[in-house]
């Protein structure tokens, strides 16, 4: 987590492919500059519509895959959630889209060798398969838990390498085990002796994963998803209360200091119902909240 900020590339990326995968669109973009520099856990931010679009803010997406050596492509997995993603998921091959990346810090390697558990909730599994490749290349044994509300909202089940472990959960039991990704987690940690967990998905899932990790003495690296206006650290909209190495909690930008945080450093108790409060002991918290 101590990379020196590299230059950010802004490219007019050509859409190479856009195909439907379950509830998502897997979109391949020609963006060699970004593909070369990116690491698992980093993200890209796309502008929506052209100069006459009323939507000004960029939309952020985890990088699913890059192919720096072949076609210089970057791949993302997008759920059609609102007007911005609606426009993005409708992009036809050959269309151009303004893309910034790679953004944020990637997943750190585990402190200790052995096994790691990778947890993806919904499209949160998008960055996990690439991360698995990198971990495996570093001699780490990989176990996946992929979960979603329903079978069509699972992503990547068929992309898991045969040598990796795989558990699938759905809330409604339409595929894999019925339940949450955390349900099989304790048993898996026991069984594999994994001391490192990587997780990407909705905030309540990340909080729950962190809880299990802590109970187990494991380290969880979580990829958070806060609403972002810029993606590059200039707007201060994407903050979370995160405890620093000095024990002080600061409202910390998830775009530049994240999106990967060590789960135990995030002040989850401040996060509820889609809102994040400023903990009263945070640096510079208003007097009233103390």
């Amino acid at each position: 987590m101590s990379e020196v900020p590299a230059p950010i590339a802004q490219v007019s990326a050509t859409v190479l492919a856009n195909r439907r995968v379950g509830a998502y669109h897997q979109i391949t973009l020609d963006a060699a500059e970004i593909a070369v520099a990116a690491r698992p856990g980093q993200f890209v931010a796309l502008a929506v519509g052209g100069s006459t679009s009323s939507l000004l803010l960029r939309r952020s997406f985890s990088i699913h895959r890059t192919r720096p050596e072949t076609d210089g492509s970057v791949e993302i997995v997008v759920a059609d959630a609102g007007p911005g993603t609606h426009w993005i998921t409708a992009l036809a091959p050959q269309a151009q889209v303004d893309m910034l990346g790679p953004l944020g810090r990637g997943f750190p390697l585990p402190a200790s060798p052995g096994a790691a558990v990778l947890i993806g909730g919904g499209y949160g599994s998008a960055p996990m398969l690439w991360l698995a490749d990198v971990l495996r290349g570093n001699g780490i044994e990989v176990h996946h838990i992929l979960g979603a509300a329903t079978a069509d909202r699972l992503f990547g089940v068929d992309l898991v390498a045969p040598e990796d472990g795989l558990i699938v959960t759905t809330d409604d039991g339409s595929q894999g085990q019925r339940g949450r990704v955390t349900d099989p987690l304790t048993e898996l940690l026991h069984r594999t002796g994994a001391a490192t967990i990587y997780a990407c998905g909705p905030m309540p899932m990340l909080a729950a994963v962190t809880g299990v990790a802590q109970a187990h003495g494991a380290t969880a690296y979580v990829a958070v998803e806060e609403a972002m206006a810029c993606g590059i650290g200039v707007c201060m909209t994407c903050v979370l209360p995160v405890r620093g190495g000095d024990g002080i909690t600061r409202m910390t930008r998830s775009c530049t200091d994240g999106p990967i945080f060590e789960g135990g450093s995030v002040r989850w108790e401040a996060i509820a119902n889609g809102r994040v409060a400023v903990p009263s002991d945070a640096l510079g918290a208003p007097a009233g909240t103390r």
Binding site: P7, I8, L57, L100, A229, C230, I232, C235, T237
Partner: protein
Amino acid sequence: MTGVDLTADLGRGVLLPNPVLTASGCAANGKELHRVRDIAELGAFVTKSVKREPQSGRGTPRMAETPSGMLNSIGLQGPGIDAFVTHDLPWLAAVGARAVVSIAGASSQEFAEVAQALVQAPDIAAVAAIEVNISCPNVANRGLVFACDPGSSSEVLRLVAAQVPESIPLFAKLSPDVTDIVSIAAAALEGGAHGLTMINTLLGMHIDIDARRPHLFGGTGGLSGPAIRPVAVRAIWQVHAAMLAGRIPRAPIIGVGGVRTGLDALELTLAGASAVQVGTAIFNDPSAPWRVAHELASWLQSHGVNRYRDLVGAAHES
């Protein structure tokens, strides 16, 4: 661009190589945007408004997208003036940026203390101007924004001016949320401002329909972006017109509000701005400030205008 003089004149001998600045709070304190392009190429770099103490800012959501604009409610998150002077200003000086330092406070006294700490900074030479963000709430006056009251506006500028050497121009940043912006401009100039920055955000709000509550953690937020450009143009026009008519003293205006293209920057210039800031457009396109400067220069060249300064307020001549 050969043959085009882009120099912008902020008064008191401060000339900028080109008239395009960042807007306070839309470019942090420089390091982040410098990853996109060299901020020393900009006319000047305007820092995030800094207060005396570190500020956590508000909870989230801190923003909502709105048609051709956005609402923000950051709450002036920042390091406090001491850390700013120790870390941020030296960095800006080291990369050769011309800094316009935006200062804020919850009382006129706090403004003065921030200014005092700033002018004592070893790197004060990097400061081209100070922008006094009076569009923030005055705790002593039931939280009424300083810039909504002529008396408070004037007082803040008077106390700040007492701390700042003559060589550094003071720009008062005005709020558009007032019945008569000319009277606030007059009060700020009377207090000791050497120029005006217009406009700050408009007070707005977005309701989360499903949650049936205000979307922003802070309730209301500031509306910015191209949506508000017509209001910025009007405010600049009114104040510049009052200057031309001799109703208030002449002073340079830095225009801000919804600038996305070189033509937008020209529009604010023709209305009366001597330089222009780019804010929200950065979130859409982080190279916007440089692009705007380039588009501006291209337009001047293709229209045979040799000096940017000749266009300042030119629409008033018709």
